[in-house]
Amino acid sequence: MFIQIEPTSEIPIYTQLANQLIELIASGTIKASEALPSVRSLAADLGVNMHTVNKAYHELERKNIIEIIPKSGAIINSISTKGPSDMQLDLIKLHLKPLIAESIVYGMDKEQILSLTSSIISEITEG
């Protein structure tokens, strides 16, 4: 269960961290009701500011992916079986639309975009 961040990347560290955690959950590497390391210890392991980790955890909590319980820490929620809520679907669409538009501008056709998407899905779920 390795987390890898790139401090010099243009993507903020907290976003990188949140994205990696989501991927680990999506691939089933971290399972529901497991606890994430404490903010302090993960910040120490990565050598980053505690606020950075805290921000990533709160982002995950806001997205309903983890639950922050005082004293016990950050607990992973189970993957939803009902599918996304309307609000979550809107959010996904909001993020996905500009990326798909960008792909079209780069000259990708529907086939290419779909096959890229499906290869990313297998990359995540097969770990």
């Binding site: 269960m1 390795f2 987390i3 890898q4 961040i5 790139e6 401090p7 010099t8 680990l24 971290i30 994430l36 390391p37 404490s38 302090r40 210890s41 993960l42 910040a43 120490a44 392991d45 990565l46 050598g47 980053v48 500011n49 505690m50």
Partner: protein, 369 residues
């Protein structure tokens, strides 16, 4: 007696100082992060060899001159002690000078050859490392403290029967050679110092436990196992020091209360035994575990991950030895040149736990004079 004691200590110092480049992770050479793929660079290998050989031979020659001079002139003990200490400082000073020289040369070599410029610089953490950490619980370090408290109570009970002069310093033969007048403070001063050191070691264990588990980006599994071993053995070594110090100081306290407790042989053997246990344990730790566990031998042979290297935090290491990083929540961090831990000078709590107790101990020593 004093001479052979110094001979052992100085020889130990020379071997340790000369061995340092070989006890470190190979990704950090003279305090400079070296990306995977360049760690076997011939020039760097030569730097290490030159450093070790220089210290080893200068040290041995110094030691030889010292011994011949001491034996030939049939010197007084205090002169032997004084010169021995000078020699130790001399060796440390030469090591530091050589280190700095090679630190600058290594930095220049890395810069000139643009090592690692085409690699992605990342930091890696393992989410499970905390649950696999086998450091001793800090509670274990609290165990010797009640012994100290018990001895203070016992001293208070025995106060009336104690001699008028309390020993404050013991010579190399185990016999007291400095005294101070009896008063409620001087009779327990030794125990107060012991107590402070016990608390300090408890704090060191607590804060090393909290400090980051730093993994090598391109060899994750290997470095993870090595890191965890390093942490485990560090806390064992610290615990051994705490226990043996409690035994030694407790013994000294009891001989102060009951003058003829151990007899002269025992008085001599106790500190010697203490010294040898610490020296041997330190040597085993340094050579078997190495800095960050770099000498822990593993059966697995992990292929380094291509295209990535550790995020270069050289900028936070002043001269490659002093770590100053406000953002890193670790108070104690692994040394870059040497085996063990050092302070994050970017964090004021660090000063408090290390320098505070030392000041109190110095204060007690000053009050006894």
């Amino acid at each position: 007696m004093v001479l052979s004691l110094f001979l052992v200590i100085i020889l130990f110092l020379i071997v340790m100082q000369a061995a340092i480049p070989y006890l470190l992770k190979n990704t950090i050479v003279f305090g400079v992060t070296i990306p995977e793929g360049h760690t076997d660079d011939k020039t760097l290998v030569r730097y290490k060899k030159t450093y070790s050989a220089t210290i080893f031979f200068i040290g041995l020659i110094g030691l030889l001159i010292y011994v011949i001079w001491a034996i030939g002139n049939n010197l007084q003990e205090d002169k032997i002690v004084f010169t021995g200490l000078i020699l130790q400082f001399g060796i440390l000073l030469i090591s530091m000078g050589l280190y700095l020289y090679f630190h600058i040369k290594t930095m220049k070599r890395k810069r000139d050859h643009k090592w690692g410029d085409n690699l992605k610089r990342v930091r890696v953490a393992d989410l499970t490392s905390r649950s696999n950490d086998e450091m001793l619980p800090s509670l274990m370090f609290a165990l010797p403290i009640p012994i100290t408290l018990g001895l203070i109570v016992y001293t208070a009970i025995q106060y009336g029967a104690m001699p008028d002069m309390i020993p404050t310093h013991w010579g190399p033969n185990g016999q007291p050679d400095a005294f101070t007048a009896k008063n409620p403070f001087s009779v327990i001063a030794l125990l107060l110092i012991l107590g402070i050191m016990q608390v300090m070691m408890l704090a060191i264990n607590y804060f090393t436990k909290k400090s980051g588990v730093k993994l090598n980006a391109s060899k994750r599994s290997t470095s993870r196992i090595q890191q965890l071993s390093f942490r485990k053995y560090t806390s064992w070594l610290l615990f051994l020091v705490s226990i043996s110090m409690t035994i030694l100081f407790g013994f000294f306290q009891l001989t102060t209360i009951h003058e003829n407790l151990g007899g002269p042989t025992f008085m001599m053997m106790m500190p010697l035994g203490f010294l040898f246990i610490i020296l041997i344990a330190t040597a085993v730790y340094a050579f078997k575990v190495g800095q960050g566990g770099s000498r822990v031998q593993l059966d697995i042979d992990e292929e380094p991950i291509a295209g990535v290297t550790d995020y270069d935090d050289d900028a936070y290491w002043k001269a490659g030895v002093f770590y100053v990083n406000k953002n890193d929540p670790s108070i104690l961090v692994e040394k870059r040149f040497g085996v063990g831990w050092t302070l994050n000078f970017g964090n004021p709590i660090g000063y408090l736990i290390i320098i505070g107790p030392l000041l109190v101990i110095l204060g007690i020593a000053y009050l006894l004079d």
